[in-house]
Amino acid sequence: MISFERQHLGFILAMLVPAFLLLALFYIWPATFNLWNSFTDLTLLSMRQGGNFVGIQNYVDLIRDSGFKTVIWNTAFWLAFVSTLIRLLLGLGLALLIHSEPVRRAGLRTIARMAILLPWATPPIVAVVVWRQFFDGQGLFNQIFLDLGIISEPVAFLGNQATVWPALLMIITWNTLPVVTLTFLAALQTLPKDLFEAAEMDGAGTWRKFVDVTLPHLAPTMVVMGLLLVIWTFNNFVYVWLATGAGPGTFTNVLATEVFMKGFISFELGYSSAVGMIMVAIMLVFGAFYFHFVASRNFKEIM
């Protein structure tokens, strides 16, 4: 690492300034604008003369609004918590499955690794599209369930309050499970063999070896992956918007879709900005965690 001297300053600035200028223009300026707007009653009609300063009124409205409580619940419970838990469990299970001896002997390991790449390479909008067809009235699931006699008439899985969240989570899980699985697979490949042998000498069975050796080895990966999944899904707009449009009604409305609908469709820009600032605040907390425990540890040498 080259220590800082005045003669390097020109070169360093030349390397950094173009990128950071663009980033400031794209992130910092709009975010500041957003923060300012969140204290105004800006709407589309008052766009030209600008909104009036209303202090924290938008935030007060938010907290009083019962619809917003649903939005927070949907985002925190369904998107952040349940979807992450499902993907961690399924991802771990799938990785163990692919890593297992019978699957290797059956010659399925390579095929499984290829199959994993398919959902990963599928654009989110395409993933939503094909699953929407599966969930459609004439779609695959209705066909199967009707044939099996589980249901007597077609169900609109994405338009029904009882089924919409599981269906949505299925789409998200299918599209994003590969990253989780491949991460766990990579971690499984670095399992310390000697620890396994030692456990075997002590007479440990398959389950004990899993609990005492494999799980502790995978724990850090699980924590990092869990954190990333929470952040990605929390920020994600596309799945919910394209699969349900936050519906039926506003039943599956989440923070990202609320910001978009209030800002871009009903043009309550002040209110939308306030919701956006809540998202940013939550993200800063996650970001601080991520920076402190993951990024700055991965790159100790350069800090």
Binding site: M1, I2, F4, H8, L9, F11, L16, P18, A19, L22, L23, F26, Y27, W29, P30, A31, F33, N34, L97, S100, V103, A106, I111, A112, L118, P119, A121, T122, I125, V126, V130, W131, Q133, F134, Q138, L140, W174, V179, V180, A186, A187, T221, L228, F234, N235, F237, L242, L255, F260, F264, S272, V280, M283, F286, G287, Y290, A295, S296, N298, F299
Partner: protein, 283 residues
């Protein structure tokens, strides 16, 4: 007694055979779950109804592809390819510069600069849409290539920097120093010594950026309202009517959008996986 002694291991054999069969069956199910939707898209795109299970659909046809081409899809393909390629080149070049400075030099506020790159990766893009819309409207950048390229460069710049810093860590610093001793200028060091060594990393990063942009929907939705400016993900959504869906056209458009991503993914899978394990790549 002897019978029991013989039988016991055999029973365990049966148990383990059943266990193995169960594990393999589970793996087959998982493979089906992962692969079926993609197979479905490609099969459906050649069927009139776009739905392999609907009655009377088992006649192969190119009609869906003709439909999407008649509805400007070639323009969407051009828009996507042009915007993404230009944005990837700009983004990767800028990211190499930043990553090199981060990896080789000490300077004031470096920790803060790096933290802001990390936060950029995690930032909720949706809150930027309205302010950027206002900004773009004033600057005449709505429905423009420049506006979209600007967005896509900035969307993927933080990831690219983060990934490239990781790849640069694998290029020994002694090499730079030796080159400097030999009288190479700083720019020569970057271009002639470091760049060739980190080329695989640059290719992986550029591919990853490309995929991120190729599949991007939110900014395209907000800033591209004219049909002739739309990108493929947006164009695909056009075939979703309010009441009726032309599933055949939707599947053909989906297949056309997915195929390039798949072709880029397959050769780079192992590199992308190692990028993921360092926690640097977005799902």
């Amino acid at each position: 007694m002897t019978v029991a002694a013989v039988d016991q291991p055999r029973e365990r054999d049966y148990a383990s055979i059943i266990g193995n069969v169960f594990v393999v069956a589970l793996a087959v199910l998982a493979i089906l779950f992962l692969a079926l939707p993609v197979v479905w898209i490609f099969v459906g795109s050649f069927l009139q109804t776009g739905n392999p299970i609907s009655a009377g659909s088992m006649k192969w046809t190119f009609a869906n592809y003709r439909t999407i081409i008649e509805n400007d899809f070639l323009i969407f393909i051009f828009n996507s390819v042009f915007i993404c390629i230009v944005a990837v080149i700009i983004c990767t070049a800028l990211a190499v510069m930043v990553a090199y400075a981060f990896s080789r030099y000490r300077f004031p506020l470096k920790r803060m600069a790096f933290a802001s790159i990390v936060l950029g990766q995690l930032f909720p893009w949706v809150i930027l849409v309205t302010p950027l819309f206002v900004m773009f409207a004033k600057a005449g950048l709505l429905n423009s290539y420049v506006g979209m390229i600007f967005c896509y460069v900035c969307v993927s710049l933080p990831f690219s920097v983060y990934m490239l810093v990781g790849y640069l860590e694998a290029v020994p610093r002694d090499l730079d120093e030796a080159a400097a001793m030999d009288g190479c200028s700083r720019v020569q060091i970057v271009l002639q010594v470091v760049l060739p060594l980190m080329l695989p990393g640059i290719v992986a990063t550029a591919t990853y950026s490309f995929l991120l942009m190729w599949t991007e929907y939110l900014f395209a939705l907000a800033f591209l309202t004219e049909t002739t400016m739309k990108t493929m993900p947006l164009g695909l959504a056009l075939f979703f009517g309010q009441d009726t869906v032309d599933w055949g056209a939707v599947m053909a458009a989906s297949a056309a959008t997915t195929l390039p991503a798949l072709l880029l993914f397959l050769p780079l899978q192992s590199k992308l996986v190692s990028g993921v394990t360092s926690g640097s790549v977005k799902g």
